[in-house]
């Protein structure tokens, strides 16, 4: 399938829209029906990850399941204690949602930075999570906001803490026949301050070399009451840096030992060499990015 451009016109014709190999359910109910009756389906959301791997790898797809017509999966719902974001919400929509900008500024910034306008128009939050790339830009922000994901199959529904969702580079706990329906983020009473940092080689289209999300809650005396920090692109999975968080709690703005926090962060990640940077380079970048994020949040 690699060279699609060539002989598209000369392929044999067969039956049309009601193909048994191609599904575009219009509701969650229809989706479950399809899941019940079919084994191997290739799920497609925006397609921005899938088309790249299909173009490069040349493998056969048996049956398509396109989630694009399920309106329930495009909803964003705000409750008193949580916000629910459908898996089919695109990055572009995420950026434009005022509520997200106000309540989850780091998620807003990460979506704003992601890829290019063309990629943001198509790519979805659900696709970003399920791809489970260590470089997935929405993942560190979602981790510091304590996001959970709701996963459905034809008969079951389960909720998974995003912290336990990723199991390795491009690996996660989803099983065959399971679909990511939505993301649930708790709304906290405490006012927090957050920073999103991404260091890469080029501004547009960079798959981040390293990224950091930091969210801090100060008490009324400006002492750090809660701290959440997550790093992307540095380890096999995006991960929370609990050792650094622990050091931060109880500190005041001017008592933070930046070097100590940065060292803890660098120690917890297990960086990998790849085309986007060596492990050593990443450790030093991790230190710098941690320092600059802390300086920014305390400004």
């Amino acid at each position: 399938m690699k060279k699609q451009s060539k002989d598209v016109k000369n392929r044999p014709t067969s039956s049309g829209r009601d193909s048994k190999e191609y599904f575009r359910p219009k509701s969650k109910k229809e989706l479950k029906e399809i899941l019940k009756n079919n084994d191997i389906l290739t799920i497609i959301a925006g397609g921005t990850d899938l088309l790249v791997s299909n173009y490069q790898k040349l493998y056969k797809i048996d049956k398509w399941l396109d989630l694009d017509l399920i309106d329930e999966f495009k909803e964003v719902k705000i409750f008193d204690d949580k916000i629910e974001i459908g898996s089919m919400v695109t990055h572009d929509r995420l950026v434009r949602l005022e509520k997200i900008k106000e309540l989850f500024p780091i998620l807003h910034s990460a979506a704003l930075d992601l890829g290019s306008p063309q990629i943001r128009s198509r790519g979805t939050i659900g696709g970003n999570i399920v791809t489970s790339s260590p470089a997935g830009d929405l993942l560190p922000p979602l981790l510091v906001y304590d996001a959970e994901v709701v996963i459905i199959s034809d008969q079951e529904e389960r909720k998974v803490d995003l912290n336990t969702f990723f199991t390795g580079p491009k690996k996660n706990v989803l099983k065959e026949g399971e679909i990511l329906e939505k993301i649930v983020i708790p709304l906290k009473k405490d006012k927090s301050r957050g920073v999103w940092k991404k260091v890469g080689k080029r501004k547009a289209l960079v798959i981040s070399s390293i990224s950091l999300a930091l969210n801090i809650v100060f008490d009324k005396d400006n002492i750090i009451k809660k701290a959440k920090m997550a790093i992307g692109s540095a380890a096999p999975v995006p991960l929370r840096i609990k050792s650094a968080e622990e050091i931060l709690i109880g500190q005041s703005l001017d008592s933070i030992d930046y070097i100590k926090v940065a060292k803890a962060a660098a120690k917890q990640i297990s960086p990998i060499d790849d085309i986007r940077g060596t492990a050593e380079y990443r450790i030093s970048v991790a230190k710098n990015i941690t320092k600059s994020a802390l300086k920014e949040v305390t400004k």
Binding site: V8, G16, Y22, R24, G47, D66
Partner: protein
């Protein structure tokens, strides 16, 4: 796999076609419908040469399967010209020498048009962001940005 029936509107004209399950919008536009103004560069979403407007948004047509866009509306660079009249952006690209080899131009024009349709008064930063996904190896972007700005200013003074 079987072919899939798709209806779509391209440059204000309706088409009913049957496509391969792995046929990209780029293939459909170029090979099936002959809109060769849409260019294929990298094929993996990085260069923007294949950019079209899909239901109001700039997208890479190499990053979309045609079956995904049933009932949608597509505008290619050819559709920027209406009744033989060039889009003001096309004029400006010529006037400001924003075209050298021309390979990036169709995608660039489309990204700029998608921006102006959503935001008729963008500032320089917004213009830069809008063409972030369009690579140009020749011009260094300066003339392109100036050309787009000239259209914005003209709109403003009208």
């Amino acid at each position: 796999m079987d072919k899939i029936s798709v209806e779509l509107t391209v440059n204000r004209k309706k088409y009913k076609i049957k496509v391969e399950p792995d046929e990209r919008l780029l293939d459909t536009l170029r090979e099936r419908l002959n809109f060769t103004g849409v260019k294929e560069g990298c094929s993996i979403g990085e260069c923007g040469a294949c950019t079209v407007i899909l239901d109001g948004k700039a997208v890479n047509s190499c990053m979309v399967y045609t079956f995904q866009v049933d009932s949608s509306e597509v505008i290619t660079v050819k559709g920027l010209e209406i009744d033989g009249k060039l889009d003001p952006l096309q004029r400006a690209f010529i006037d400001y020498q924003a075209v050298q080899c021309g390979f990036c131009t169709p995608g660039m024009l489309i990204s700029a048009r998608a921006l102006l349709n959503q935001n008729p008064n963008p500032n320089r930063e917004e213009i830069k962001t809008a063409i972030e996904g369009n690579l140009c190896r020749c011009t260094g972007y300066k003339q392109i940005i100036k050309a787009i700005e000239s259209v914005v200013k003209k709109d403003r003074s009208e």
